[in-house]
Symmetry: C2
Subunit: 104 residues, 2 copies
DNA sequence: TAGATATATCGAAATATGTCAATATATCCA
DNA sequence: TGGATATATTGACATATTTCGATATATCTA
C-alpha cells in the first residue's frame, strides 16, 4: 500500500461524521435500525440529523476507501465494517509505536 | 478522546506529504539530515521538494495533532515521533478488527 | 400498474486545505 | 554589531470537501 492509497483510507476515516457512522456499524443500537436484518443508509439520517444525499455521500466514501462493505437487498443498502482494512491500517501504525522505534 | 479530537489526529495523518514526513522521522536517512543530532525542518525541503513555508505548515499540523514532538535547539527545530499518540490511535482501531467484532 | 420509499447523482454554495512568495523573527558566527 | 541562516507568519490562490435541494433510478406493495 503506497502513501496515496493509505492517505485515501485515512482521509475517509478522518471525519467526525464518518467516525460516528463507523462507531454505529461497530455497535448498532437495535432501536435505531429501521430494519431487523442490518444497518441501512436511512438509519443514519435520523441518527446524525443529516440529509439523505449527505449520508449517501459519506457512505460512498467509506465504501470506496474499503472501510465498509455494502450490500443491496431489496430497496435497502446494508453496510458492515470491513475488518481487513482496519487491520491493514493498524498494522501500519504499529511501526510508529514505542516498541518498533526502540528496536531500530 | 472524542470524535473531533480523533478526527484531528487522523486528518493530520491523512496526507501523502505528511505520511512521507512521518516515515522519514521513523527511519531517518543519515545522509539526508543536515544535522548530526536529529531531523530538522529544513531536511524536508530537499527531501520533499516543497517550499520552506509549506514544510513549516505541515510540521505545525503534525505537532498540533500530537503526532510529532518538536524541540528548538539553536537555530534548528528538531522533530520526533510521539509514539503515545500512535498507540492511542492504534488502540481505537483495534475495536474495528475481526476479533473485536466477533466478540460482540 | 401507480404511488410510495430507499438510494444515487447533479449542481451549487460555503468552508477547509495545500501551496507559494513575501516578509518577520530568532539565532548564530565572523 | 551585522550578515547569514533556520523557522514562522501573512496573504493570496487553486483545489478539495461538506452540505443541501432538486431530481433520477430502483424496488416494493396495494
Amino acid at each position: 500500500m503506497n502513501y496515496e492509497d493509505l492517505a485515501t483510507k485515512l482521509k475517509a476515516l478522518a471525519d467526525p461524521v464518518r467516525l460516528n457512522i463507523l462507531e454505529f456499524l461497530r455497535q448498532p443500537i437495535e432501536s435505531c435500525c429501521s430494519q431487523s436484518d442490518g444497518v441501512c443508509a436511512c438509519d443514519f439520517e435520523t441518527l446524525l440529523g443529516l440529509s439523505q444525499p449527505t449520508v449517501s455521500h459519506h457512505m460512498k466514501l467509506l465504501v470506496q476507501a474499503g472501510l465498509v462493505r455494502s450490500e443491496k437487498r431489496g430497496r435497502w443498502v446494508y453496510y458492515e465494517i470491513e475488518t481487513a482494512t482496519f487491520a491493514q491500517i493498524s498494522q501500519y501504525l504499529t511501526h510508529f509505536q514505542q516498541a518498533a522505534l526502540a528496536a531500530r
